[in-house]
Every structure is written in structure tokens, then in C-alpha cells.
């Protein structure tokens, strides 16, 4: 048992810390939020710093690292609320590419590593509670091809993406793990229609409609109807990445709240001297430490392939929803009116946490997944 970062991991953390120090600024964040286009400059820096290469194999030009390093990197970036589509393109996108064909890899990875290719995982659907097996969007098998029809919702990075990883039902009914297939689809293919939208945390999502989009066998990732295991394993990494990033964000919310309470005076005293607030901040601290513990638990278990790794990841995502809600709500309440404005860190971090709880299943969904993984 060892909770120390390796030298390599520490270097990664340090470089991310520097990046955040130089780039995070509430004012700038507020401006960035209004932009729908991708922040190419930041993405270019990510490429230069080697961060896009983190989870790729060395033979593909990657750094051959894994979820532990992703965790280290994203926790730091989360402290700066950096809005780059790292999880969509590198963690989820890169994760699926690992299961792709050699041709798919050759076509995408080099460009991705240079910062020239964006990806998105098209999984959620409107009016369907997210779990992989609840996927309903149809892929009709026609000979060697599959024809996609339907709509994917809330696709993170969906409008910037050059290639989409589409999860579709090619057999069976919602609820069946069998019958799911994954496809790497050109985002500009005929029949693909994208409607971009902002998300509450200032990022970008898209509704993507598929109208008779014909996909050849070569575009498939994994076996026909047998994509569940691949999707699950990549999803778990994505959930961990989201959790790592938001754990960083929680730290900031806690620290900012504690610091604010030391300076804000009411009734002649800093509000941090009032016992009721002290106890609530102690509980925020405890919730944050528990979150950090689950993040380490889940990440190490996944990396080392423990039997209960999936369960731990679901526990982490559930904890993120619960602790995010608790810490976020308290942070606003203790900041008072200032917490309700666009001016301080607190509101922006809270919006990020509010968005993330709903992504790929909220706390309730993941608590039930814990029960099912038992």
C-alpha cells in the first residue's frame, strides 16, 4: 500500500499546477464561457506539454501512462476549471481508439497527439436515464453495413469533434447488454446533423441526429452486438477522469469558502467564528477527504484490476454527485449573495459540479450500479 506519487507523476502534477497558476482567472473563465469555438491555443499548449499523449501506448507515440496519471493531471486542471475537451478526446476518445482497428488507430492517433483531431462519445439519449444497456438508438444491420437512425443528446464536445464514437443498438431491447455496437463515424458524414449548445458549466455539447447514416464494417470498434464490455471499461475510465477533475474543483470550493469566512464579518465577527458555520465547514472538509479517498481507491483498483474495481468507480461517481451537491450548496450559502454572482470562483465551480453529476448517470444511477456490481 503506497499513496506516494512517483517521480514521473509528480512532474506531471507540477506542470499542471504551473499551467493552472498561469492560466486560471475567473474573469478569463467568464469570457471563455461565452465562446462556443474550441480554445485552440489552450489545446495547442496541451499538445506541446505532452498531455494529449498521456494514455496512449508508446508504439503509437504516447507516453504509455494510465488512469493514475490521468487522475494526477486532471485533479490539478480541475483546480483551475480549465475547459479543454480533454476527457472527450483523450480519455474517452483515446480509450475507444485503444480498442479500434490498426487502421482506425493509424488514421486518428497521430493527428490527435498533435492537437489536430477532436473526438466525442455519443452515448446519451433524450428521455432515457443513462446506463449503457439502456441505449435505444437503432443501428440496422444491412449486409456488412449498419445504418444509423436516431438522436444522441448532450454529446460533450460533440460539435468540435471530427470523429464521433457512436453507441448504438444493433440487436435486442433497451436493458440488454447484448446487442450494443460501437462505431467510429466521421462527424461530417452525410446524414449527420449537429446542433451545438452550451452546457451550464460553460462548455459545449451537441445534439446529434443520424438520418440513414451508413457505416461500413471497417468503422466498427469491437465485435457487432458485443460492445458492452469495451464501452463499460472505457466509460469507467471516463468516470474516473471526470471525478478526478471535479475533486480538484471541490478543493478550491472548500478553500475559497473557508478563506471567505475568515474575512466576511457579520454581527461584529468573521462568520467563520460562528459555531454552526464552523461545523458545516468541518463537514465539507470531511466530505472532501472522503471524496479524495474514493478517487484513490477507485483509480488504484481499476489500474490493478481488482475484482471490485467497477464497484469502486461507481461509488466514486455517486460520491462526486453527493459531495459535489453538499459542498457546492454550502459554498454558496456561506458566501451569501456573493456566491450567487458570476463574479467569484464559487458560482463557476458549482455549475461545473452541477453539470457533471448528470453526465453518464447521476449519483442515484451509480448507487444502483454499486448494488448491481455486488
Amino acid at each position: 500500500m503506497n499513496f506516494q506519487l512517483s517521480e514521473e507523476q509528480q512532474m506531471l502534477a507540477d506542470s499542471a499546477k504551473r499551467f493552472v497558476r498561469d492560466n486560471h482567472d475567473v474573469e478569463k473563465h467568464r469570457q471563455n464561457k461565452k465562446l462556443m469555438p474550441l480554445d485552440e491555443a489552450t489545446w495547442g499548449q496541451f499538445a506541446e506539454l505532452g498531455w494529449l499523449a498521456v494514455p496512449f501506448a508508446e508504439e503509437h507515440g504516447g507516453l504509455g501512462m494510465g488512469p493514475l496519471e490521468t487522475m494526477v493531471l486532471l485533479q490539478e486542471l480541475g483546480e483551475g476549471l480549465i475547459m479543454a475537451p480533454y476527457i472527450a478526446t483523450v480519455v474517452l476518445g483515446g480509450g475507444f481508439l485503444r480498442h479500434g482497428s490498426e487502421a482506425q488507430q493509424a488514421e486518428t492517433i497521430p493527428s490527435l497527439l498533435e492537437g489536430g483531431l477532436q473526438l466525442a462519445f455519443a452515448a446519451e439519449e433524450y428521455e432515457r436515464v443513462f446506463t449503457l444497456e439502456n441505449t435505444a438508438m437503432k443501428g440496422e444491420v444491412q449486409g456488412g453495413d449498419v445504418v444509423l437512425n436516431g438522436t444522441k443528446a448532450c454529446v460533450l464536445n460533440g460539435d468540435h469533434a471530427d470523429q464521433l464514437i457512436v453507441l448504438a443498438r444493433t440487436a435486442g431491447q433497451p436493458g440488454d447488454k447484448d446487442g450494443l455496437s460501437l462505431f467510429l463515424v466521421d462527424a461530417n458524414a452525410e446524414g449527420v446533423e449537429r446542433t451545438p449548445h452550451r452546457t451550464v458549466d460553460g462548455r459545449q455539447g451537441a445534439e446529434i441526429r443520424f438520418s440513414n447514416v451508413k457505416v461500413a464494417e471497417a468503422a466498427r470498434i469491437g465485435e457487432l452486438n458485443q460492445a458492452y464490455d469495451i464501452a463499460k471499461s472505457v466509460l469507467l475510465e471516463g468516470l474516473l477522469a471526470l471525478s478526478a477533475e471535479c475533486t480538484g474543483s471541490l478543493t478550491v470550493l472548500l478553500n475559497d469558502t473557508v478563506e471567505y469566512s475568515k474575512t466576511r464579518k457579520q454581527f461584529g465577527l468573521p462568520i467563520g467564528k460562528f459555531q454552526a458555520l464552523q461545523f458545516r465547514m468541518a463537514d465539507m472538509f470531511i466530505a472532501m477527504e472522503q471524496t479524495k479517498s474514493l478517487l484513490m481507491a477507485a483509480t488504484m483498483k481499476l489500474v490493478e484490476g481488482h475484482d471490485d474495481a467497477a464497484k469502486a468507480v461507481h461509488a466514486m461517481k455517486a460520491q462526486l454527485g453527493r459531495a459535489g451537491r453538499k459542498i457546492g450548496q454550502e459554498a454558496i450559502q456561506i458566501h451569501g449573495g456573493m456566491g450567487m454572482t458570476d463574479e467569484l470562483n464559487v458560482g463557476h465551480f458549482v455549475k461545473r459540479l452541477s453539470a457533471v453529476d448528470g453526465v453518464f448517470g447521476n449519483a442515484d444511477v451509480h448507487l444502483m450500479e454499486i448494488a448491481r456490481s455486488a
Binding site: N134, G175, N362
Partner: protein, 400 residues
């Protein structure tokens, strides 16, 4: 003990419903459905106030001689409930519910004659100048100073969280006129025009990217002493009069019931692998738990109304309904975003602007969910934070 509804109350409810049915325009209805705050869009709220005022129903809680309706406690409650059930946009409260009552209780006859009719017909749009950057829950520590100069006061300082100051024609404000003695003493209640020289307004953008609040700065703003309500240094009494006037506080349960019904309908549309979410036991359990709380609050509010009707003063119990009402509203808005999952993260505030032609992305019922969740975080902060309210219960009710 009984819940039976007398015939005349049923008839009254019918009368209100018929009126609402006939007089609500499509624009006002639409705006009402899209409201995600206690503050409705100004244009539609004022249009609705005009319709109500034409009927004589803009301020049922005022004494009849000033333009009230003379209704009983129960009738007023029925009216309020029906407005909520019909999802009308809430009337802007600063004139009708804040300044008006203070003038009724403490204004001169002249002030009442000048201002009250214009509050009712909306000619004067008021804002409230109470909070300051340094004094939120601790209002008595306010510092904005009004210095006497001949027949005038000269005001310097700043007010914050001034809702709709950027739309307002008038402000009623608490200012310090004496720096000695206890903090509650030495405060004066003043009325002033928002276009006076020396006033500047800085809008504050909220979490939901909407500007409801402003900060207002006073740089040697000159106001005649005749604009004072009540005696000099006695403004705290004037402001407190509101508590006497609106004893028992607000009713939250009717609005919560409307929200719950909406959420139930949303849950029916969300599919899990076992069928609609509305049939999912975990969702049902959570929903039932909130339903039970709201039913309890409905009866807590009835008990307070019943006390009021028989002339009793529920006193500090309004602190309880404020805590329950606001925290249940927060829980309900949270339940809504939980019901919607990722769909709640789609951010399209432009779709909330009345009269917009923006096509909605995703289910239409999801559009208000996140803005409402975020906006509702404020309601445990303003109007006496819930920390202040718990302190009142501890001291005034439990004697701690």
C-alpha cells in the same frame, strides 16, 4: 376540527378561476410558465399587475381604503393559491408588498395619497435599498449616510442586492442619520428618485447569467426631508412594520405542489430499463419523501392561517415556514435536475426570455430546470438568511 370548505369559499374560488381563465393573455401565461425565480420578467409581470389592478385585485392584503379588497384571510389565501396554480408570473413585490405596507403603516396622509395609487397602477416601479456590501444578515450595521443640509439629506454610500434597480423609478431606503448609540437606532427610512444626480447603478450578473440585482452608488445625492417616512432615526420601526403587516409570512406549499406535479409528469417521460422513471422505486421513494414534507408544510401553513383568522399572532412561526418553504423549494429544484440527468445541463437561457423565437434543444420541460435550481439557492440567503431564521426560532420560540 375540520377541513370542510364552506360554500361561499368554493364560490369565491370559482370566481377567481373564472377571472384568471378570462383575463390571462397567452404572453402572460407563457412568461409565468418560464419563471425560474421569485422575480418574474418585468414587462409581463407589470402587464399582469395592470389587469389585476383594473379588477381591483392588485393588492388584496392592503386595507380597503387604500385599494385593498377587504377579503378575509382565507379569501386572500385562496386568491394567492389560484394565482400560483395558474402559474401566473409573480407580481414584483417591492412596491406592493414592501414599500406600500410601510407607507400604509407609517407614511403621512400626503405620502399615502401620492404614492399608493401609483404603486397599484405600476406607474412607480420601486426598488428596495436595504442591504449593503458590509451588512447582509446583519442589516443594522448599515453605513450609507444621510447628512442633513437645510431641508435636504445628502446621501453617500452604496446599496447592494437591489433587485431590479436598473428598472426602478423609485427607491425606498434605509440610511444612517446618526452614528451614535445602538446600531438599530439612528436609521432613517427615505424615499428617493432613481434618476437623481449622483446615483449610479451597476448591474450584477447572477449564476443563471440573468441580471436581477444591482449595486447602487450614492455620491452626494440630495433628497428632501419631506421624503422621509416616520421620524428621523426611527426607520427601523418603519421597516419592522412590514412584519406586523404581513404576519404569518408567505405560503410556499401551493407553489411546491405545482412543481411536484410537473416533476411527476417529467418522470413519466424518462425511460429506465424497467420502464418509466415514475415507476422506479428509488425515484418514487425520493419523490414521496418530498411529497410528505410538502403536505406537512401545507398544513403547517393552514395552522398559521387559522391562527391569523382567529386574530392570533403566529409570531416567530413565519421563520419556520421561511426555512421549510425555501429549503423544500431547493430540494424540489434538485429533484427536478436529478430526474432529468444530463438533459438538465443543456444551457439555453435565451429560451427563457419571453417572446423569444429560439428553438428549444432537448425536451422543452427541461429548459427551466437548471436555472431554477441555481436561482433557488438564493432564497435561503435573502429575506433574512436561514441562519438568521434558525436563530430566531432558537431564541424567540425555544427561549435559548
Amino acid at each position: 376540527m375540520d377541513l370542510r370548505v364552506p360554500e361561499q369559499e368554493k364560490a369565491f374560488r370559482e370566481e377567481v378561476r373564472t377571472f384568471l381563465e378570462e383575463s390571462l393573455t397567452p404572453e402572460i401565461r407563457e412568461a409565468g410558465k418560464m419563471v425560474t425565480s421569485v422575480f418574474a420578467p418585468v414587462k409581463e409581470a407589470m402587464a399582469w399587475q395592470k389587469i389585476l389592478n383594473d379588477k381591483g385585485w392588485a393588492a388584496p392584503h392592503w386595507p380597503k381604503e387604500h385599494g385593498g379588497t377587504g377579503w378575509s384571510v382565507t379569501q386572500r389565501a385562496i386568491f394567492a393559491e389560484e394565482l400560483v396554480r395558474a402559474e401566473t408570473p409573480p407580481l414584483v413585490p417591492m412596491g406592493l408588498h414592501m414599500c406600500g405596507p410601510c407607507l400604509i403603516g407609517c407614511g403621512t396622509e400626503e405620502q399615502q395619497k401620492e404614492y399608493l395609487p401609483k404603486i397599484l397602477n405600476g406607474e412607480h416601479f420601486w426598488c428596495q435599498g436595504y442591504s449593503e456590501p458590509g451588512s447582509g444578515s446583519d442589516l443594522a450595521s448599515l453605513k450609507t449616510f444621510a447628512e442633513k443640509d437645510g431641508d435636504d439629506y445628502i446621501i453617500n454610500g452604496t446599496k447592494i442586492w437591489t433587485t431590479y434597480a436598473h428598472y426602478a423609478k423609485k427607491m425606498f431606503a434605509l440610511v444612517r442619520t446618526n452614528k451614535d448609540g445602538k446600531p438599530q437606532q439612528g436609521i432613517t427610512f427615505l424615499l428617493l428618485d432613481m434618476d437623481l444626480p449622483g446615483i449610479s447603478i451597476e448591474p450584477i450578473v447572477g449564476l443563471d447569467e440573468v441580471t436581477e440585482q444591482c449595486q447602487v452608488f450614492f455620491d452626494n445625492v440630495r433628497v428632501p426631508q419631506s421624503n422621509r417616512v416616520g421620524a428621523e432615526n426611527d426607520g427601523w420601526t418603519v421597516a419592522k412594520y412590514l412584519l406586523t403587516f404581513e404576519r404569518g409570512g408567505q405560503e410556499y406549499a401551493p407553489g411546491l405542489n405545482v412543481q411536484l406535479e410537473k416533476i411527476r409528469l417529467m418522470a413519466e417521460k424518462q425511460q429506465t430499463v424497467h420502464g418509466p422513471m415514475s415507476k422506479d422505486p428509488v425515484w418514487q421513494h425520493k419523490f414521496a419523501s418530498v411529497e410528505a414534507d410538502v403536505l406537512a408544510l401545507e398544513f403547517t401553513e393552514m395552522r398559521i392561517k387559522s391562527a391569523l383568522s382567529s386574530g392570533k399572532d403566529p409570531g416567530a412561526l413565519s421563520s419556520m415556514t421561511k426555512i421549510l418553504g425555501t429549503e423544500l423549494l431547493q430540494k424540489v429544484t434538485e429533484l427536478r435536475i436529478e430526474t432529468l440527468g444530463a438533459q438538465a445541463a443543456i444551457w439555453q437561457p435565451q429560451a427563457l426570455v419571453p417572446g423569444n423565437e429560439q428553438p428549444v434543444i432537448g425536451p422543452e420541460y427541461a429548459v427551466t430546470a437548471m436555472p431554477h435550481y441555481l436561482n433557488s439557492r438564493a432564497c435561503s440567503i435573502y429575506g433574512g438568511s436561514n441562519e438568521v431564521q434558525r436563530g430566531i426560532i432558537a431564541k424567540a420560540v425555544l427561549g435559548l
